[in-house]
Symmetry: none
Subunit: 224 residues, 2 copies
DNA sequence: AGAAAGATTAACGGAAGATTAATTAGGGCC
DNA sequence: GGCCCTAATTAATCTTCCGTTAATCTTTCT
């Protein structure tokens, strides 16, 4: 999952980046509205965290601009003002959620995962593909009841496939959502991780869940 | 556990700060209602102690303002007036408890721990993880019946993990709840304390309770 | 058969964590 | 106020493990 944080307070920005990275997100940072606009137009983010009070273009204006351009990435707004009018203003301008400062990081994380999940069409935090289960909150994976231990990257790749099950994901799309902006396109790293995931969750199973679409990418689905 | 004390009498403020710190709290102090409002909006406290008679914004007004802003941190009010009407006024304005001056520090401590516990949903003061037991009131720890002596910070970190058992706690989250506002994000102090705790309570035990989640943080749990 | 795409494997290097020692801060006591 | 003891913190070093690279093997399609 890749997100963009637009926040000019250095300290808070760093804190948030670190916090999300600790929760297996890939995080790009920028510090004013202009940069923010550029980044959102250039890279496909799974969500954006947007402070209201930022230089050059303020949060509300940026939000409106994006929506006018039909860019419908989920957006969570932060504001220091803590007033009800702002909340209303934010939601009616097209923000998906709104969080007044101060907030508990856990709270922010919960809300952000919620709007991403909602956006991807799922309502629950439990993803199920045949007898494979992912719990997005605890980031745990089980197949047929037994737990499967995955590394951070392995999990990130599997989670992205699970959130987009029954759809072919290209290597490029993986790289855009699981890696940050300087990804080497000639690398075969996605193949390597697919292989590791297959060993951990499809090996010795009659029903394979990860399938290769030659020339296109990989797909996670239950039926042949 | 981190609390804020809003109290303009220097002497009392210092005394309270010291008292709570001796009981493993992290304490921020401020001296008038305006500052208080700012602090509560900026940092996530586990509870607030609020004197009624403070400069700029009085306690009741501050309390009401916070509640209107949907900031639901537990608040304990102090008043010098000692009249029944004030008690009623405080509780109906949304305070969680009320204590007339003069009071016994032990009494204040007991009430504060009570409202924090109530707020976190737990009713008991005994936390149990496998054969590890923490008594929140006496701040004593035992494993398999034998007592384990911990320093203040060691205890604070363990207590926070115990209150959130079976959930991964990131270093960022630790820093928010166990340290005050100027925490150095590059410090490895959490790692050092985890190491000490492991030496004191997991060493030479077959069942380890503190586990590392690489890239994320630490978790206290009984099962592998 | 040969080329292209994918699968597999081993190995390296670096980042994250563990550990330990050394320094600093603070509380208690006379 | 100064001394002592302990706790808190910093910093340096060691260890482990994961992300990545790259080389080789296998499959698939023309």
């Amino acid at each position: 999952m890749k997100i963009l944080i637009v926040e000019d307070e250095q300290r808070l920005a760093t804190l948030l980046k670190k916090g999300f990275e600790e929760n297996s997100f890939v995080v790009d940072l920028c510090f004013d509205g202009e940069e923010g606009l550029y980044m959102v137009e250039t890279f496909p983010y799974d969500a954006v965290i947007l402070d209201v009070m930022i230089p050059k273009i303020d949060g509300f204006t940026l939000l409106r601009t994006l929506r006018e351009k039909q860019i419908n990435v989920p957006i969570l707004m932060l504001t220091a003002m803590g007033e009800v009018e702002n909340r209303v203003k934010g939601l009616t301008s097209g923000a998906d959620d709104y969080l007044p400062k101060p907030f508990d990081f856990t709270e922010l994380l919960a809300r952000l995962t919620a709007i991403i999940r909602r956006n991807k069409g799922g309502a629950t935090s439990l993803l199920q593909i045949a007898d494979l289960q992912l719990d997005i909150n605890s980031k745990t994976v089980t197949r047929g009841g037994t737990q499967i231990l995955l590394s951070a990257k392995e999990y990130a790749i599997l989670e992205y496939m699970a959130l987009n099950k029954n759809r072919v994901i290209s290597r490029t799309e993986f790289s855009e959502h699981v890696y940050d902006m300087n990804f080497d396109l000639d690398s075969n790293i996605i193949d390597v991780y697919i292989n590791r995931l297959r060993n951990k969750l499809d090996k010795k199973q009659t029903q394979k869940l990860i399938h290769t679409q030659r020339g296109s990418g990989y797909i996670l689905k239950e039926t042949e």
